[in-house]
C-alpha cells in the first residue's frame, strides 16, 4: 500500500496541534510534559515523511531517520529532567498542578 505524503504530513500536523492544545489547556505538569512528547512525535513523523519524499532507491535520504532517532533521545532526556523537577516540586507543594506555582510574580 502507498500512503500519500500529504496524508502523513496532515497526521503530523494534527498530532502537533493536539500537543499544542494539550499544553495550553491542561494544568497538570505530567500531562503537559506528555503533550510536549506528542509534539516531538509529530516532528518525528514529519522527519520520516521527509525522508520518504527525498529518497530514491539509489540514494536514500538518511538524515531524516537519524534525526528522528536523536529526537527520541531528546524526548527521553527532557522527560527525565522534567519528571525529576516535577518530583522536586511535588515534595515541596504536594501537588503537580502548575497553577499552584505562584511564588514568582511581579
Amino acid at each position: 500500500m502507498n500512503v500519500p505524503h500529504a496524508h502523513l504530513l496532515a497526521l503530523a500536523a494534527v498530532l502537533f496541534g493536539l500537543g499544542c492544545l494539550g499544553f495550553l489547556l491542561r494544568r497538570n505538569a505530567i500531562i503537559v510534559l506528555a503533550s510536549i512528547e506528542l509534539m516531538l512525535n509529530a516532528a518525528n513523523l514529519a522527519f520520516l515523511t521527509g525522508s520518504r519524499m527525498h529518497s530514491s532507491a539509489a540514494q536514500p535520504s538518511l538524515e531524516g531517520p537519524i534525526f528522528a532517532l536523536f529526537v527520541i533521545l531528546i524526548a527521553a532526556a527532557e522527560a527525565a529532567v522534567g519528571l525529576a523537577l516535577v518530583i522536586a516540586l511535588y515534595r515541596l507543594k504536594r501537588t503537580a498542578e502548575l497553577d499552584s506555582s505562584s511564588e514568582l510574580r511581579g
Binding site: 500500500m1 500512503v3 500519500p4 532517532l69 527520541i72 533521545l73 527521553a76 522527560a79 519528571l83 511535588y90
Partner: protein, 179 residues
C-alpha cells in the same frame, strides 16, 4: 488512492472482531458462578486491600529515569553495531569509509561515559532502595529579614557541636576507665 486504506480498515475490523468474538465465546462456555467468593479478584482466598488507583512510591521514578537512559542508548547501539560489522566485513554502507577502528573507539567512549554516569548514580546512593544519604537542606533567603545566619556559619556551628560531643564522650569514657 483511498483504496490503499482498505487494508487498514480490514486490519482494524479483524482486530476488533477478534476481541469481541473471544468475549462472546468465553461467556457461552464458562460456568456461571453465583457465590460471592467466585467474584473475588483472587479466588485463592487472599483479600484485596484498597484500590489499584494508588500513587506509586516516588522511588520507582528514580529507577525508571535511570532505565530510560539505557533504553535509549540501545537505539544508538544498533545502527552503530551494523555499520561496524559492515566496515569490518568490507560490505554495505560502512565499507570503504575507513571508519572501522575509529567507530569502535567512539562507541567505547560512548559506553564509557554512560557507565561513568551509572557509577555516579550508584555512588550517590540513588540506586539503593532505602535512600541512605540525605542532602543538607538549603537555607533559603528570607525576602525581608536581614543578616541571616549564613549556611557556612551554621555548618561551622554544627561541626563545633559535634567536636564538643566527641570530647564529652571521650571524657566520660576516660572517667569511666579511671573509676
Amino acid at each position: 488512492m483511498y483504496f490503499d486504506y482498505f487494508t487498514v480498515l480490514v486490519f482494524a475490523s479483524v482486530g476488533l472482531a477478534f476481541v469481541f468474538a473471544n468475549l462472546l465465546i468465553a461467556s457461552v462456555l464458562r460456568p456461571q458462578r453465583t457465590q460471592d467468593e467466585g467474584l473475588e479478584t483472587y479466588e485463592c482466598g487472599e483479600v484485596t486491600i484498597g484500590e489499584a488507583w494508588i500513587q506509586f512510591d516516588i522511588r520507582y521514578y528514580t529507577v525508571a529515569l535511570v532505565y530510560v537512559v539505557f533504553a535509549v542508548e540501545i537505539a544508538f547501539l544498533f545502527p552503530w553495531a551494523i555499520v561496524l560489522k559492515e566496515a569490518y566485513a568490507g560490505t554495505g554502507a560502512g565499507a570503504g569509509a575507513g571508519i572501522g577502528i575509529f567507530a569502535l573507539i567512539e562507541g567505547v567512549i560512548f559506553l564509557a561515559v554512560l557507565a561513568l554516569g551509572l557509577a555516579y548514580v550508584w555512588a550517590k546512593g540513588d540506586l539503593d532502595w532505602v535512600l541512605t544519604y540525605s542532602a543538607q537542606p538549603y537555607q533559603p533567603a528570607g525576602r525581608e529579614s536581614s543578616n541571616l545566619p549564613l549556611v557556612q556559619e551554621l555548618e561551622k556551628e554544627q561541626e563545633r557541636l559535634a567536636e564538643e560531643r566527641k570530647k564529652a564522650a571521650a571524657a566520660a569514657a576516660s572517667s569511666e576507665a579511671a573509676a
